[in-house]
Amino acid sequence: MKKRWMLPFVLLFVLVLAACNGNGDDTAADTAADTTADTAAEATADTAADTTADTAADTTADTAADTTADTAADTTADTAADTTADTAAGSEEVIIGFTASQTGKQNVSSTGQVNGLQLWMDSVNAAGGIELSDGTIVTLKSVTYDDESNTDRVQELYTRLATEDDANFLISPYSSGLTAAAAVIAEQYGKVMITTGAASDSTYQQGLTTVYQAYTPASRYLTGALDLLQQTDPDVEKVAFVYENSKFSTGVVEAAKTYAESLGYEIVLFEGYDPDSTDFGPFINKIEASAPDAILGGGHFQDGSTFARQLAEKNIDVKFFTLLVAPPEPDFADLGQAALGVIGPSQWEKQATFTSESAAEAGLAWFGPTSTEFVDAYTGAYGGDEPSYHAAGGYAAGLILQQAILEADSTDPDAVKAALDGMDLLTFFGHIKFDTTEASHGLQIGHSMIYIQWQDDGGLMKQVVWPAEGATADVLYPKP
């Protein structure tokens, strides 16, 4: 009898543990999401919209100065949003549906993404909504559920968003796997879905027609680094790839390898390591033996930084070193001299200065805030937290939708879809243009990665070194 009692207890212990774990993350998410939802709804609405509108350098001074004007504008906006929703004929409430990973392993990145998206929504609403040419004011409302970072219920939740909550537009969950499952539902109900935080190419090669990608796809994560290498030193011949054996990194590196071969590089080493690797000795020995001029690869933060440190300790003479994911993280600087000269791709960096002027130069339309305005609004709204590129991606997904609604001059899905198909735009996040071919409809073809390099400028600093038009410094080559 005693044994019979044991099993339920053990089971429950495990379950509760899992629940607590999830909720441990949840609290973090909640503090961020809730305080932001609350404070952001009020405070951000003012500051964010204000900064965007005014382009003021000093936000605080500005807010202080504008409080009265703001409150006035805000109350009108709010009452307008509230009352017009059912009374006035010239207004429309658009529902944006998405799931967030409030629990589970994608929690941190997903929270950033959702914060960015929420900031966009708040600033649009605070500015009085999106105005169409016939005077209709489009205001936004979000409906969101927790997808728990797993695919079990993603389709159920997206069906709920599409049918029960009558979401007009969808935003993807975070990560390629969840997005692939959600995309099937978006397509089935003909809902336009802007994906962000979903880099994998394969989702967009499934024959979908209503899904549009904001991120640079995985296949182009490292191609820019090869372009940079070729431009910096045309004499380089031998390239090595050492990468983490995971879905994302493998996809990235395989595409980069093909590209490197097409550029005429000789691949002297192509090795995957286990995601839990802590000792890169065997790989470093192989690198030493094959003597490449450039190394590309890595995977995520832990393994990437360990790899960089061990490579520096062994004094391997390599001219060009690019790693995925790890270098853009501020913590990468903890490596000290080992970080110097390391290059990494990023979807967005605050140093990258896309402006209306650079848009005019490139012959593109410009839309939305500048990077500085976005960063100010974000730090203002989220208690001083710096936005990660996930957050910027979330905001950018919103901007893409907003511009498409404006361009279509309607919220009709077909019109918005047509506007997205024809979109060729520059935002603070970068260039946005979608593939419209049948084979890979919705794949991002305009946006490209930004490459940062850790340089010594009286202390370790991230500098944008590629693409040339967004660069803040020349590339440090060869790597010291």
Binding site: D26, D34, D146, N150, A162, V184, E187, K247
Partner: protein, 339 residues
């Protein structure tokens, strides 16, 4: 109310009510499942179909696991391995070799059954906690193997082109088709579960659950009985894995072999009442409806895991034998009808 016992009732003289009473243990579960299947048609809402898909999937998986866990008392913590492996084999055949869904499902079931047979021969000699630990290890090992297996896409996984749904009349029809296929599979697994429960083979399993040594002395060939129970409980998860990932459109090692899913299956079996036919159905329905409700309710959606955990704790604390077990204990009249 006099109920004729099975030995006394001679076949020709049996009335319809007598037959109904005899098979009530099968008819009640089937009735409950048929109601769940009909629910989307009754409400006419797509969301009901999606919600009931999750519920039916859980019922079918929990019922499969119950054949091993409930009847023979062996806890398989890594049962999701069959779901994942079957899913992978079927998905590979559908995406690379362009098989249709049904043969791919059959292939998924066969491969899972085969794996269970081989594993059963090896690890079912372990008892109790050691067996449970071994099943976890196997799940992790198979996942690691698939992560390094290039034909299955390695860590990248595989995706299904959206165009394949056109073979089934379009994406919308494919979703309905998946639902009804799942419905059929659920009915099959319940019928199998009932006949195992009432057969001599099932009695052997129950004897093993109570005391394996005593069962062997009484003539039950324990290793064989356990292996076949393991195989039976593995086939349907393999079939359902193919169906789930077909509907999902993509497959990756981590979601396919998610250990947490295994634990949920065990919880559902325990909640409804292990070792009964109806139990896993009530457990699956109850657990998934509760989670679905909490996940989408405006009040609970931010603390849904904590609330679900607390509720399950209360239920299992006060009704350790599960809902069906509790009913059977409290209402003697139900013992004959609820199996």
């Amino acid at each position: 109310m006099s109920i004729p016992t099975q030995t006394k009732a001679s076949p020709p003289s049996r009335t319809i009510t007598a037959v109904l009473k005899e098979y009530a243990g099968l008819l009640i579960p089937i009735g409950v499942v048929l109601f769940i299947i009909a629910w989307p048609t009754i409400t006419g809402k797509d969301i009901s179909r999606e919600a009931m898909f999750t519920v039916l999937l859980s019922i079918a998986l929990a019922s499969s696991l119950n054949i091993l866990l409930g009847y023979s008392g062996y806890v398989s913590f890594g049962h999701v391995v069959f779901f994942g492996l079957g899913g992978y084999v079927g998905f590979y055949l559908m995406s690379v070799h362009e098989w249709l869904l049904w043969p791919a499902m059959a292939a998924g079931g066969v491969s899972s059954g085969l794996l269970a047979f081989l594993l059963g021969k090896a690890i079912l000699r372990l008892r109790g906690g050691y067996f449970a630990l071994a099943t976890i290890g196997i799940n992790e090992a198979i996942r690691a193997a698939i992560n390094n297996f290039t034909p299955f896409g390695g860590p990248v996984g595989m995706t299904l082109n959206f165009q394949v749904y056109k073979n089934y009349g379009g994406a919308s029809e494919a979703l309905w088709l998946s639902f009804y296929t799942l419905a059929a599979m659920t009915l099959i697994v319940i019928t199998v579960s009932y006949f195992v429960r009432t057969s001599k083979f099932g009695l052997g399993l129950l004897a093993i659950r109570e005391d394996e040594d005593a069962a062997e002395i009484m003539g039950v060939i324990a290793p064989n009985a356990k292996t076949w129970a393991y195989v039976l409980s593995a086939i349907i998860p393999g079939v359902l894995g193919v169906l789930f990932f077909f509907k999902n459109g993509s497959i990756e090692p981590l979601p396919a072999f998610r250990l947490h899913f295994s634990i949920e299956m065990i919880v559902m079996v325990m909640l409804g009442g292990q070792g009964t036919v109806l139990g896993p159905i009530i457990g699956g329905l109850g657990y998934q409806s509760l989670r679905g409700f909490l996940l989408t309710s405006p009040i609970f959606k931010n603390i849904q895991l904590a609330v679900a955990g607390a509720l399950l704790l209360l239920i299992i604390l006060f009704i350790p034998s599960g809902i069906v077990g509790w009913l059977r204990k409290r209402v003697p009249a139900l013992r004959r009808v609820l199996r």
